[in-house]
Symmetry: D3
Subunit: 241 residues, 6 copies
């Protein structure tokens, strides 16, 4: 099978993670997966949402946005329209869950970590790239809190990365670019730990339902991709955490 | 294992689908799954969204809401707050995708079917009950369009139902009530056709990741539940469609 | 005069009040007046609005909504539009005033009672049915607070119910259904106590003004209807309060 | 009985209506009732709302606002808050109904008359002063349309004015100032034609219910006030219309 | 050069400042510059924005609005639309900066002065008239705080007024009316103190750029106008402050 | 005088303009001025705002935003809050005016050019960097329209760039970084053409007024800076236009 960009079904796109991409936030990376580019930043706020006040626990919350020039047709600006669209809500909730799942919130103390994922160029897989990049920014920010003595130890439970898989022209493929994504019969986003366990699976067969065999083969592809991504994350972090 | 309401892990709650629950909409049902009660209505609008104008195709869109008295602590009214919360966006998009996936939109003509799911009492599984109930209201509404000669044939491709599964105290269980849902380590919603294929899988292990074996056993439970639900739907519709 | 549903001018529609309709709220009823059906719930919140803080007084506030499937043409969802329409504001303020007027707020302590009226089927008179039903839910909720020892005595000053009257085809009639309401020259909503005194009168002759004689005869009809409704409320409450 | 400003119970405050108060709108007046001052303007728009397109009928719609400096404590600006409060909705709907009731909309042609009532100083009775003043601005604007040949004849059916009545310290009084209004047990706004018929009655006994005898005496006071106001309106218009 | 209203290029329009225009606010004026009429009020609030809490400093904030009848074509009501337009934001920020610049905020104590400028008739120069009028209302309100002993001395650093200048048909002119403003190639608003220093300069040559010589001659005109306005302000205040 | 970053008063920061920074928009640049980094994109839309329909004229409109990670303390996301703040309105209007002033809109045909300026890192001067960068993206996009034959010739009237000047510790300086900006007594943004004429001057002496001599010396600095910037723009465009 010939993929539109010459990759084999089990290939991910070239990935580049630039740490310390911005000067202000506690953690920041630019993640590039092929033509998809996302700035992921982590900012520490010295308070927690009302439901955690007095609990000693911390919180992680995520926001996601695309700049208007990131897409082929100009993406309208949600700030101008005055509300987030449903897709944005869905994605920011997914990112938040994924990152909370790998941090021991009890060890954070009463702080909130704001994860911001700003897509500057989109070519498919922006939500999974956001998770993969944000994880690196998050560990970086937490390391700085450890260095400053604010945290005693890095409260990370698992490595986490995310990738898309799908069925395109009858073939299960890994890491879909936009063109593939628009033609996929099945479209699945997988968030996974370095021990090969699932944090989240979201698979949709809106165009055509899929059976258990297809599911299994998609999950195997995802596992391969996650494994590679976690290797790249570790390299970017420059430490064996 | 003792479930809080005495069910066995593989049991669904008592289900009751009341067709023609309201007098105004083209299709309407009250679905009750245990204490969860949702009014599902279908209204036909004689136009389509801008992106389908002139295409000859129809559209299906869904909205979801909970009345303030449906939950233990009063649910604030989104209309008063002036915006939908993220969870609502997530659910209405899920319901819309699920129902679009089983209708041949090309055969609808340029009409929009509005699916409204209004939860009047919540005890877990409101989004899956919404899909299961809305499918019956949808078929009923479409049957009326066939009867009136507006449609030549019922444009239904598959039966569809939805159910939740999860891992509670280490055991995979089917159709979680609210109490189980709040304690579940893994929480998954499955939308499935009568041929046992998946329309949508959304599984989250925010509290604790899950492995492939657990996934497989959860999906088997879901399959059993869906099978029973589709039987109940058929009975409610009173016809072998 | 033949009314569209066979009633005589001075007849109300069949009324049914189902107490304890929902399991979560402190008070809840389903009220049915002919085809009009409203779920009325009462929830207790352990705080008061800012202007009452420290006063020792309680507050009662009301919200009102119609589900999209409750009307002939689908009612757009105010939550989706992001704001309440003027009619909704008018009605929620009316319900709030009516119920506050019969409760001794000084004896509540600093709590807020949230009255929610959710119309699931509309056939005229939804605002008056809301008041009549909400009163029963309110007394029920207050009785529970008395039973729990939170209140010393039931802080109810008067029974209250509400009904519509109007001039249809030249004849004053009681309890208008939707069809009558759309053809009425004069349209009036009356909120009244069991001692025959007025809490609120709102009469409109937008289509044609009305004189004092018409007013008097409409108010007499309203008095008759209120009397019957208060009887039905007492029966539903099952106690002579 | 001594009223706070020395009036007798049946006295209205000094009224002054300045026609052609502004240079831009088709009709404009400043109405002063005691310390209450409202600018009422009428603007003609060459189109109608969607539900009247093609009907040949016109429409009248009203908006109402208070400038921040109009009240004792600064009135927050609804434009800054981003939404109208319930009271504003209630009042603009009342003004709209009152003015539509005295115009033959069929004779307007497909135009919309925008009534704007901007309170620059408030001392009770702003909604009734708005109606009384807006009627003069409306007739003035319609007269200009007749003069220009756009309308064949003045499409006015009745004169209309509005006034408040209430029970203050046990006595029914006419045209309440703010101080009286805050202490009134019963508060009623009456919109009436020159032939003594009612367009709208809105009476509230939130603090204490009222009986039929009180109602009758309040309505008689209102009738007296309306009669005087219509005289002043006619004078301001300078013609016997 | 003939200006549309017969003035010479260096003439301002007739100015009238009516102090104590309204009864409720601490300071209030009606300023009229030709046909432009603005009500400027100042209200004292006994608290400061969060960023000043505990600082001992006060704050001044401004809001600006036009009533719908103030313009030739009806100005839509921002409160109804639910948001302020960009122009309004621009103007309220300008007014706020101008007035803060002449008050010693350290000497106010922790209070907020709300400046409200409500345009009741617009014929060009509403933002500059707002500043000129609001200054008088502000000094008046501060004088009252001094009289009451709340402030020890008037915390005014400079007199301030504002005026527009522009290039119309090739000629630099002072105090543009609306007709001139719409035809101006260059349009500039100048806020200046009585010592001839600039608080703010905003000049735009959207239609055609301007050079330094034109700038100098516009600023000289502005200086002349400001000088006259400050004289009129002093007269209105009736004291040499 | 020692500036915080070692520059002389008349020095601009290092500027880098990367053309074709993104793949989707018709024009796109990354402009870096010291640590300030802005992505400027230009998208062509095949329609115009209502007020230009049928005019044959085109339009240019601008939007501006900062990503949350661009500032020291996290910048709240306007899309989440649901409205643009006043500063954003002010800046987007400034950018729009600046770019419209150098394009012959009559020669565009009925298209709208959307200018989007997204600040990814802020260190002072983001609005002026936005204008300077957006101009390059705009010319690039227009060149492509010429190449495609959609435009006959480049409809550019003037080169334009923008820069900030201010008085810091008594010294007029060019191109203020954030630290300087927060301490500046006078703060001015200047938009200028390559022929040394002004498009826009916005100068504020909120902290302390400034006199004509200071103004002149600030404008001379600005002229020097603009001259250098226009040289860099030309280089980036790679053509003598």
């Amino acid at each position: 099978m010939n993929r539109v960009d010459g990759r084999k079904p089990e290939d991910i796109r070239p990935v580049k993670i630039t740490k310390d991409y911005l000067i202000h936030p506690q953690g920041s990376v630019l993640i590039e997966m092929g033509n998809t580019k996302v700035i992921c930043t982590v900012t520490v706020e010295e308070k927690v949402p009302p439901f955690l006040k007095g609990s000693g626990k911390g919180w992680i919350t995520a926001e996601y946005s695309m700049i208007p020039g990131s897409t082929h047709a100009r993406k309208f600006r949600e700030a101008t329209k005055g509300k987030l669209e449903g897709r944005t809500h869905e994605i920011k909730r997914l990112i938040g869950r994924a990152l909370r799942s790998v941090v021991d919130l009890n060890k954070l103390g009463e702080i909130t970590l704001w994860i911001d994922c700003d897509v500057i160029q989109a070519d498919g897989g922006t939500r999974t790239a956001s998770i993969t990049g944000a994880y690196v920014a998050l560990v970086d920010a937490l390391n700085k809190l450890v260095d400053k003595g604010i945290l005693k130890a890095l409260p990370i439970i698992n490595h986490v990365a995310a990738i898309s898989v799908g069925v395109v022209e009858g073939t299960p493929v890994l890491d879909l670019c936009y063109k593939e994504d628009s033609n996929a019969k099945v479209d699945m986003n997988v968030v996974m730990t370095d021990s090969g366990e699932f944090i989240e699976i979201q698979g949709t067969g809106e165009e055509s339902p899929f059976n258990k065999a297809e599911l299994i083969s998609l999950l195997s592809l995802a596992e391969k991709g996650i494994d590679e991504l976690i290797g790249i994350q570790k390299e970017a972090l420059g430490v064996e955490i």
